[in-house]
Amino acid sequence: MLQGCPLAWRRVSLNEVVQQDDVSFIIPGETKLSDIVQRLGAPSSMKATQTGSIIRYQFLDIKYFTVNLTRPLPYLVPALSAVPSDLYQFTISGGGIGTDELQIGLDRDWTVVHFSFAHHLKASHYTP
């Protein structure tokens, strides 16, 4: 019964979360890109803007849960084995993708202009 049982909790994580404490050294107008890279490593992405550039450190957390409630029925009612499972199948599933991102704006001299976090980790959950 356990083999191929459609009950599953699945999770996919991309990169490490950058915490508030990790960026306490950043001072807008003073901290340079090289200082940031020294502490946090290379950013996940870099994009040019009209006033300089934006760098991003990205974390992603995907959670997924599924259960097929009708799967055991053929064991209880053998006649159902002759019926395609699609006709009586009842599956509950749910999940979400949560992102956590540190965005740092830099001017044309690669000095920090602003930085902020985008928190959406609550979007990642198992509950349907």
Partner: protein
């Protein structure tokens, strides 16, 4: 005497059956996977890039063609990246961890390397199957 032998045989048979069932249950839903997207950066190749002298061609000879070329602040930037994936599945539980590493090389307008940005390389992802917690 024969009764004792039969009892022992029965007990041994039950233990073997239980072990076989346990093994079949545990091994039926097991999978472990490890993969890479592109090669990891060779530290010697990165160290061979000389700021102020290496050209775009020198960099391309060492690291190959970049994954992306970005233009920012009048500079051309070569972006190299790689990803490492580790995934574990046991019965109903599955977890996949992905870690990416990035390398940026900044060039001046005349194509000379100005800055190499790699920072610390992130640790290899953990091989896990338990999807709860951190």
């Amino acid at each position: 005497m024969s009764c004792n032998i039969n009892t022992r045989r029965n007990t041994l048979g039950r233990i073997l059956t239980a072990l076989l069932l346990l093994a079949s249950v545990i091994s039926s839903g097991c999978a472990f996977f490890r993969g890479n997207y592109d090669d990891e950066f060779n530290a010697d190749d990165v160290a061979a890039i000389k700021v102020g002298t290496s050209t775009r061609q020198d960099v391309a000879n060492l690291l190959g063609a970049p994954e992306r070329v970005i233009e920012a602040n009048d500079q051309e930037i070569f972006h190299y990246y790689n990803y490492m994936v580790k995934s574990g599945t046991i019965l109903f539980f599955s977890r996949t961890n992905v870690v990416g590493n990035d390398l940026y090389i900044f060039f001046s307008r005349d194509g000379i390397a100005q800055q190499v940005i790699s920072g610390r390389q992130k640790p290899s992802p953990k091989m896990q199957f338990w999807p709860f917690g951190d």
